[in-house]
Assembly symmetry: C2
Homo-oligomer: 422 residues x 2
């Protein structure tokens, strides 16, 4: 234990403590090694973890600060705060009408003609006041946290104009400043081609490269840049140009890859050394081999197929077996996956991707931390790391996928402070 | 409005009020008619609804009691309190180990040999103290309520001895007395054949008929009797004998029917005039025709197939089109569907059964009330009925299936009192 550090928060008598100590990132069989300690404890000083281990050993040794909190977590599970590495939290309106039309067999065009689809999100976001967007996104972000998440990646992408993309990223910056959640912002101007550029596709790519990226970079509004690389949206070549331009401005790459068909998105992610390649429902065998050798994190989004009523799923078992760094996310967005529950995604990962509870926990902690470039400080309970911790009302961590659709979070600790379940 | 009734609770300015006024029960196209009122209000006196209608009209007229509560529900949806007509809430232990084994491809026998399966629930329930069972079931029941449910059907069935079945039903009776939830108890001694009768199947049927049913009836512990009618469990003939014996003791019939294959359970339900036939994944065309003419409610349980990792689903659209009375339930139980979220089931009903939000709402209110024999007093917001009401944090009721895996309940009113979200 670090000397001279006064303990401000002590969580002791933990039924099952999931430390995630070990490899960063975690691949293959290491994914199942979650560093389990029975009767564990975590000692925190300020926003830093200073000791993790056996409860009897730690509780006897700590030097408690004058103002301190002690939590006794018998029959409970404690994990690192979950990390959601792929969300679209800034939007103006939900799209429940479209969900019902889709289930009734209506096609993309019919839905678009009825005012649905991503373009409806673009229209409403452009019209919305920043305060209105902030109020809605705040609710989304705090709901994510109520379900055990302490950090998220947060994308723009419903603006599709320099002004509206900046408006979205400024909402994310304000949330980051005011809310307990840490948001890692991603510029996603290349989410779709807006209506006014429908016949001038190339010009929109130029706008993203020559105007949007420099404007976002100048304002320091994004750590990452993402592109929707898919047939009919942005080609592999366009995606490469956009991401390379963003890299020059200091933004690391993320790619919406191989979601609807195999288009070479995973291959591009490996080529560029992207931070993550996301979706990957139709990743090619070559894409798997390339990602297995890369440090790119494969962020799988089983909630999206689920909520679109599709049976297809990313080949998670093959990816894990071959050594790809696998993570999971809600894809929280109003079009294809309206949920703030990462535990729900863990249930879907079990049922649809055949991932065990241990693998999914590693996916949403240590590996998700790597997908936001914070594998060094987040996603594990280890001395010296950030004190982001989730306490669960369950005796065994395997209850997480099994007990589905309900919130089992007991408490959330963010930067050493109890922020949910006080 | 009923004269001289002082209003103790007024819910006004309701964005969308789903009254469910109309047919009881609801079949075919009527299932989609949910009695929607924009800017609605509900006035309650004690535990009784006394007025439902336009907010401006009602709010101006009511005579408020000295002690009263006024709730303004702008931008919110108000529905009848949901009713869950099929739950197994009394058990001693969760079975998350088994869930993971099943997803890893382990078969029924392997799981049973590792200490899993329904027999593990029987072993642990028999050993458990009533207080221990009560504490666990209380949590389950209150979680169901936190997700918007105000009445449940609650089964025994993990005891499989006269003593342990009575112990389970007594726990249900105690919950009914002490908790806000109303529980409608069902005796399910014929859930499985216990180990000690494995080679004496017929003797167990006789025990259920000659000893358990009279003992349960004498103690007035159950309103309904249920049988697991399935190949390898109880045959159609055995199920008929058991249910007829129970009917003689005043218990109405329910049947676990056609869950794993088509065995004639739906036909038996129609023949007996059962209150409900549940599961029905493999209902025969003849079974559908017979139920369409009967007053038996078809209780569909899409969460069970989902959580077992199966793709099969009850033919809900065909059943609705032919006029079967369709309801939905969690099947909340530790073996095959560990969830207390009926809204999650509404999402699954949309995605797997292609039921619209309106149809699902009718299924879990007016039709579910019929499945527990209370179509006259529950499941609708209508003058003279019980004031069981759920207030939802959403602008449009269609958000219910679409916004999946999270709790959108704002408040629950049970017998006229706010019990969740105070």
């Amino acid at each position: 234990m670090a000397k001279n550090k006064k303990i401000t928060l002590l969580i002791k008598n933990i039924g099952q403590l999931v430390t995630m100590q070990g490899q960063v990132p975690r691949r293959g069989k290491d994914l199942a090694d979650i560093g389990l300690i029975e009767n564990g404890a975590v000692a925190v000083s300020g926003d830093e973890i200073v000791a993790v281990g056996n409860s009897d050993e730690i509780a006897g040794k700590v030097d408690l600060a004058e103002n301190h909190t002690v939590i006794s977590a018998e029959n409970q599970v404690v994990t690192p705060g979950l990390i959601d590495p792929h969300t679209h939290p800034v939007f103006a309106q939900t799209r429940e009408m479209e969900f019902e039309m889709r289930l009734a067999g209506k096609g993309y065009m019919e839905i678009a003609e009825a005012g649905g689809g991503i373009r409806s999100s673009v229209r409403s976001l452009r019209e919305a006041e920043p305060d209105e967007l902030y109020a809605r996104a705040r609710k989304t972000v705090n709901t994510l946290m109520a379900y055990g998440v302490t950090s998220i990646e947060a994308k723009s992408g419903y603006g599709l104009s320099t002004e509206a993309e900046i408006k979205s990223l400024e909402v994310i910056a304000r949330l980051n400043e005011n809310e307990a959640m840490d948001l890692y912002p991603t510029f996603l101007g290349a989410h779709e081609v807006p209506d006014e550029y429908r016949d001038r596709h190339e010009e929109y790519v130029d706008l993203v490269i020559n105007e949007m990226i420099p404007a976002v970079a100048e304002r320091k509004l994004a750590l990452f840049c993402d592109v929707f690389c898919e047939d009919g949206v942005f080609t592999v070549d366009e995606s490469r140009r956009i991401l390379q331009a963003a890299e020059k401005h200091g933004m690391r790459s993320k790619i919406h890859a191989d979601e609807l068909k195999s288009t070479g998105g995973a291959e591009l992610a490996a080529e560029l050394g992207a931070l993550s390649a996301d979706h990957l429902v139709y990743i090619s065998p070559k894409g798997i081999d390339l990602l297995a050798k890369a440090n790119t994190v494969a962020v799988l989004l089983p909630g999206t197929s689920f909520a679109l009523g599709l049976n297809e799923a990313a080949p998670a078992r093959e990816m894990i077996d071959k050594g790809v760094i696998v993570s999971l996310s809600t894809d929280c967005n109003p079009g294809s996956s309206m949920t703030e529950s990462l535990p729900m995604i863990i249930s879907l990962a079990a049922l649809k991707l055949k991932m065990t509870a241990a693998e999914s926990l590693a996916a949403v902690t240590v590996n998700a931390a790597c997908a936001i470039g914070r594998g060094d400080t987040l996603g594990r309970l280890e001395s010296g790391l950030t004190a982001d911790i989730t306490i669960w009302d369950m005796k065994d961590y395997r209850e997480l996928p099994y007990h589905y659709g309900v919130n089992m979070v007991k408490m959330v600790v963010k930067n050493g402070k109890v922020v949910v379940g006080r």
